[in-house]
Every structure is written in C-alpha cells, then in structure tokens.
Symmetry: C3
Subunit: 139 residues, 3 copies
C-alpha cells in the first residue's frame, strides 16, 4: 500500500461550476495504481466540490440559479458584509455542498458513473485561483 498527494490549481471567473474530471483522472492514471481511494479536498470556504451531471450544460446553469435564489447577494440578509455582497452567500453555498469528496478507484480507473463529472463550485464574484488537494492511497 502506498500513497501520493498533489495540489491542482483551478482558475475561476465568477460563480458557477468548472469541470476538472479530466485533470483528476489523468493524475490518478499516472500513479499506476490498480485499486485505491482518491480524496479531493478544497482549501477554501467560499468555493466547494460537487459531483454532478456533465451531459446537459443546462443542469449546471439550473444548479447555479437554485443556489443564487437560496442564498442571494443581498447585504440586508447578512451581518458579514465587509468582504462584499457575494462573500456571505458564498460561505452558505459552500456549507451546503462539499469540502471533501472520496472516490474509489477500481481496475486503475475512478469508479465514476457514466454521467458523473467532478466540479469546482465557485461562489465568489472576483476572479480566483483555487487549490484542490488530491490524495490517493492504494496499490
């Protein structure tokens, strides 16, 4: 049993989903493990991780709209407003989604379903560079 870690950097420009399944799958394949456990961890509290459908782009737009309505950019709703109208809604949207994800690898491939993509979910308005730590353990 061995383990290996890396950090991916993902640039975002405003709220929404950025798929990075390909980068993750490539890195996992390069480690040459037959079987193992992949963990993804986002090092931020105003961006999050999500596994969602990667077929129809409207799914990603509808997800974004849902979270915009649930935790809107409306300073009158929040105490924490010093970092901008978008910051507190970003923390709420991050709290409702994932900071970490675990995906088994079987037969040298991630056990993702046919339509599952791995997404970084950006919740802030300004351009950001986000870090996602990948940890793979197996043999």
């Amino acid at each position: 049993m061995k383990q290996v870690t890396t950090t991916l950097r993902i640039e975002t420009s405003g709220p929404g989903l950025t798929e990075f399944t390909g980068e993750v799958a490539s890195w996992v394949a390069a480690q040459g493990m037959d079987e193992g456990l992949l963990t993804l961890f986002v090092r931020h509290t105003s961006a999050s991780l999500l596994i969602q459908e990667n077929a129809d782009p409207d799914v990603q737009r509808d997800l974004q709209t849902f979270f915009e309505n649930l935790a809107p950019w409306d300073a009158s709703l929040y105490r924490h407003t010093t970092e901008g109208d978008d910051d507190m809604p970003a923390h709420i949207r991050a709290a409702l989604t994932q900071t970490s994800l675990s995906i088994p690898a079987v037969d040298a491939r991630l056990a993702l379903g046919t339509w599952q993509g791995i997404y970084l979910f950006e919740h802030r308005a300004p351009r950001q560079l986000r870090e996602v730590v990948l940890h793979l353990m197996g043999n």
Copy 2:
C-alpha cells in the same frame, strides 16, 4: 494493510429513503478487518447518500417533504426539462446531500451511532436500479 471493493445494487421505486445499513454492515463484517475505513460512493447524479435516524419513520417522511418543497417538481423553475419534471429537482437534491460517505470501522464494527442508519436517497420518479461502490481499507 489491505483493501477490498464491492458494488451493491439497490432497487428503488420513487423518491425517498431506502435503508441499507444491514447489507453494508454484513459485507464489512465478512472482510474480517479489526480496524479500517469504509467509503461509500453512489454512481449517480440524481440519487445520493445520507446517514440519518432510523428510529421514527416520520423523520424520513419529513426529510422527503422538506426536499420536495425546497426543489419542487415544477418545470417553470428550470431550463433542463427534457428528462422529465423530476430530473432537475433530483440533481439539486443530490447536490445538497452526499455522493460519498466515509465511516471508520473500530473493533470490527462500523463506528455508527445508536440511531444512525445508512440510506440511499432516491430523487427520481421512475423505478431505478442504483449502484453504490463500497471500498474498505484496513487490517
């Protein structure tokens, strides 16, 4: 340290929670590990995983009602409607709950609390056959 993987198939018939704690606990016990880490991963984007109370069935009904109100079957709310009125709300409900779960095993048993059950949370209307990958690592 060793690892083992399997896939459970769970049949569902409409939205709601299906408990499968027993199947998971039996499989873990059969691996004969004293200590380890169990990961569950659902291979779908319109069904999810949840650990919740398994005492009063009303808790599961109230959870279902809450998610029905939060992301209703109302095509006027969504762009993605080609797969039916239930599909986009299913993706939203899945995004708000879990795609993966991690449960430590201690003294050859899952470290679940007294009232904790493991559930598949179905969000689609039609009958489905869902796959949950189990990965156990330990010794």
Copy 3:
C-alpha cells in the same frame, strides 16, 4: 502504512458552531505521521460537521441564521414532533451539512487552507455531549 483511531467528546449548549480545529490538529501531530488521510465522523443525526471560515465570527452567526430560516422550529411543518420542536429541524440541518469529512495530511500537517476551521454544528436546543471519531491512516 499504519492507522490509528480516537474519539473526541465535545460539549455543546444549543444550536451553533463549535470550533475544534486545535484538538484535531494536536491529535494528528501527536501521531507522528508525515503523510496521510484524516477522516472525521460524527456519531449523531442531529449534529453535523462543517469546515468554514474561522476569521470573522459573524460568518458563523449568519450561517446559523440561514439554517434557522431554512428549517425553522415550527411544529406545524413536521410530522416528527415527539422529541421537541427542535428535533426535526435538527435532522434536516444535519442532512444538509456533513456527517463525515476527509482531510489529507501533508508534511505532518492537515492540508487546511488559511481560513479553514473544523466545526461541530450543533442543531439541538438542550445541552449535549457529542462524539466525533477520528481515523488517521498514513505513514
């Protein structure tokens, strides 16, 4: 590769976030591993785990307010009311946040971002003693 497990007990007095990053980091440091994977698992269905900003305390208050509005203490909304007005909203708030969290450890430290704190999210009104299982695997 080795693994080690412990259980932290955290006392709470009403709904809100209790940070315990320090206890977790100390325990991880004491295990003397250079690299590994930490899993946290809360053994309850009316309390949950959350990684969130630990800079401005208003963020934690706004998060609490958001969940109070989303799943209010209003018995008329729920079937499950025998354990008090706060119990069913507690299950819902727990379902929307995390039962388990995974954090890689790199260079003998948790890979948390600068502003990330680890929180127990209490959702019940009465005083509680909560258990969080920590499992660390690595070398």
